[in-house]
Symmetry: C2
Subunit: 339 residues, 2 copies
């Protein structure tokens, strides 16, 4: 690997997807100019997520706020509200309906919430205080536990869109939670592959990946006692980073509070490294847990994926599902690690 | 369906993936402002794809040119050259290599070609003459036939990136071909689903989709004797359009020349409708044929997908594989149809 300038195909050992590491078109990591789309965010004093503007949002679902302050007023440091333009809504029927025995559809039943990460407008996880990041992750955990107990929901997904190229229209720091009444094929295929690996090898493929990454060391970005952050061997895009609990666990929501604080520290550190080295890139992160009602799976392992949005998805990726990554994962890890 | 303002989940009857049709956040089709990223394309007189600049590109593989004119000189109307920054290269070994019995990789063996669609810089398929579009599609066919005969290649993918938001860095109209030594999981999963449908129903799922779309009519964008263009029932993004041969065929390359000209007419008409109604949107299209050496499959049906890039892919899509489409497919089809 690596030594020659030839492109290389690498197979993701977890998903079995092939990616192209195209070294001939590789840029040096420091040459990356983040993709920036013109922002159309409202001015700060009209921002619905800023402290003092609680009246222009839907009623809060949950807030971490000073004792004695009232809901939908200032005094909070984390505030969770329904998304004003929800992708899915709590009302409706989860029965599938068929039209002409061919088209299958159902009501868009689910939950879509916004987690406002700070009363302040111009901060981000990379730059805010550690304590605040811990509160964000504790809020994630709390909503995850609550929503995953709803028997109608099969998947709860927590995700963050940072910047316009990552698909956000509101600049104020926030994350989102969507609970869906279906398990998507994407997740089902991933779980099927991990089950097949387990049946073949008697081990969780993510646990084996942790062992191998610790043996090779060259793709590790950051490590704490209980979490490992690394650029995957077959990363699909430049600087993609995976954050995993070292101890096997299939569900994010079973992470105890103390460990959730440690996760927040690991995430903040990795995002701060990206912020510094890639000049505040737009990014997404997603928490990928097992389906809500599939508990204690010995073959699946929850994890977080961070995708800095520094390259475009074009026709080849859309048509083939093969991603072209122009930064060698080992180089990406070294660059982030040294930041 | 449709009548209420509630969001809806629809399952793609071909792939089995669910998408969210989020009508509460729906925009009217005419409100779509295409995503535009600042272009960094070279000035015309430095464009490597313009007539007269043949010397600054790699040697041509094939050109449709006036009798008597020499290779790598003016006189051509279609010119095919190796990509100067190839994702895959013709040299190398197609053997898989394993490292530590866990990481699998191989040389990036393949082909990566550029099909220059016109000697002129400022044209596009939507605006050029019909005759020229026919020549482009005949060139696609010719390269497809040649590359798919190479025993090392499992997939040949022809695709087009139009505009910076669709991932192109060169403005001069061009398409690309990549031949890969592997069948990607994405295509394998699709074929598996079509096979399952065939085993259950004894019919090709695409052939059934054609019958159903012709019965309902409301999602049809354009139709010729042998091709049908429609917005899929569970389109993953606004104005996504599928173009299918009506007669069952699993491989693009078996389309005879006369029918290829008819396909060019159908494609030009659909792209011209998008150009007019969506104000020259950036877009990708991909030709999705069966793997090269899997011939005459009765369960798979080649097709073209066109993706106008008018919405962003964000964290939820990356994490779940569930796409949120804010334009109801029936409305998208009506809007395109009337253009």
């Amino acid at each position: 690997m690596l030594e020659c300038l030839m492109p290389e195909l690498r197979q993701n050992p977890i998903t079995k997807e092939w990616v192209i590491i195209a070294t001939e078109r590789a840029q040096r990591p420091e040459d990356f100019a983040p993709i920036k789309i013109e922002e159309t965010a409202p001015a700060i004093n009209h921002c619905p997520f800023c402290e003092g503007n609680e009246q222009i949002t839907p009623h809060e679902i949950l807030a971490y706020r000073t004792y004695g302050t009232q809901a939908d007023t200032p005094g909070w440091w984390i505030r969770i509200i329904p998304n004003k333009f929800p992708a899915l809504v709590p009302q409706g029927n989860i029965q599938r309906v068929k039209q002409e025995e061919f088209f299958r559809f159902m009501d868009g039943v689910g939950e879509h919430e916004v987690i406002i990460e700070s009363p302040k407008h111009n901060v981000s996880i990379a730059t805010m205080e550690q304590k605040q990041v811990e509160e964000i992750f504790l809020a994630y955990r709390e909503r995850y536990i609550t929503l995953s107990q709803d028997p109608r929901f099969e998947m709860v997904m927590i995700f963050k869109n940072h910047g316009a190229a990552a698909g956000t229209s509101v600049k104020h720091p926030h994350s989102q939670v969507i609970a869906t009444p279906i398990t998507p094929l994407h997740l089902r295929h991933l779980i099927d592959e991990t089950l097949r690996f387990f049946d073949d090898n008697g081990e969780c493929v993510f646990c084996v990946a942790i062992q191998k990454e610790k043996m090779f060391k060259e793709r590790i970005v950051f490590e704490t006692d209980n979490f490992l952050a690394f650029v995957p061997f077959a990363a699909s895009s430049p600087f993609e980073t995976m954050v995993l609990p070292k101890k096997h666990d299939s569900s994010f929501q079973s992470t105890p509070p103390e460990r959730t604080r440690e996760l927040a520290f690991a995430m903040k550190t990795v995002l701060a490294k990206m912020h510094k080295s890639l000049k505040d890139p737009d990014y997404n992160f997603v928490i990928r847990s097992a389906p809500c009602h599939e508990k204690d799976l010995e073959y699946y392992h929850w994890h977080i994926q961070i995708f800095p949005r520094v390259s475009a998805v074009a026709g080849f990726e859309l048509g083939s599902g093969i991603y072209i990554n122009t930064v060698i994962p080992e180089n990406a890890a070294k660059f982030l690690c040294e930041a």
